[in-house]
């Protein structure tokens, strides 16, 4: 019962970050602002959803696997955000 309530709260927070990230991704005016909004959805949105899912998992191995999914996405999103930000710089910025 407590786990259900915590899952409800954590997943609601995750949904909030997903919606906020997508709104920023649509509304912001230049590439780097949009990248900023995108990483919020990647890191926090998926993070809260995975934490909520961990509370509903049946055994420890499932929790480990869920956390692996999140860690892989975190590492990939952080690396890719740096790469895309650098590739989107204007030529006169001297990359």
């Amino acid at each position: 019962m407590i786990a259900d309530g915590l899952t409800f709260g954590l997943m609601s927070a995750g949904l909030f970050f997903f919606v906020a990230g997508t709104t920023g991704f649509i509304r912001f005016t230049d590439v780097h602002s949009r990248l900023h909004a995108l990483t919020k959805a990647d890191n926090l949105g998926l993070g809260f959803i995975v934490l909520g899912a961990c509370l509903q998992a049946e055994d420890g191995w499932t929790v480990v696997k869920l956390l692996l999914v999140w860690l892989l996405t975190l590492a990939a999103a952080a690396t890719v955000a740096q790469l895309i930000a650098r590739s989107a710089l204007p030529p006169e910025a001297g990359r």
Binding site: F8, I26, V80, I84
Partner: protein, 93 residues
């Protein structure tokens, strides 16, 4: 609980639909690959929710695979812009 999980999956699916608009619209090529990355992350979240709804362990492996493919797609885009991945900030003067 199942109803809430379905609701969450539907909200994230709506995010996917909005991201597709950004992929179509652009205007920059970087925007399109960022849209594809948001779709990939949303797909991972939807697969995690579907695992909770149906309880099939194989779905989590699909989520891992999707996270991996999304990262490779973005790295492939950056490599197509320049062969050295647009340089290394640490190495340049």
């Amino acid at each position: 609980m199942i109803g809430f999980l379905y609701f969450a999956a539907l909200v994230i699916l709506a995010n996917v639909a909005v991201s597709i608009w950004r992929v179509l619209r652009g205007p920059d090529r970087a925007d399109r690959i960022m849209g594809a990355q948001l779709i990939g992350t949303s797909g991972v979240a939807i697969l995690v929710l579907l695992y909770l709804i149906h309880g099939q362990p194989g779905v989590l492996d699909l989520a891992l695979l999707m996270a991996l493919l999304t990262a490779f797609a973005a790295v492939g885009y950056v490599k197509s812009q320049s062969a050295d991945g647009c340089g290394d900030a640490e190495l340049e003067p």
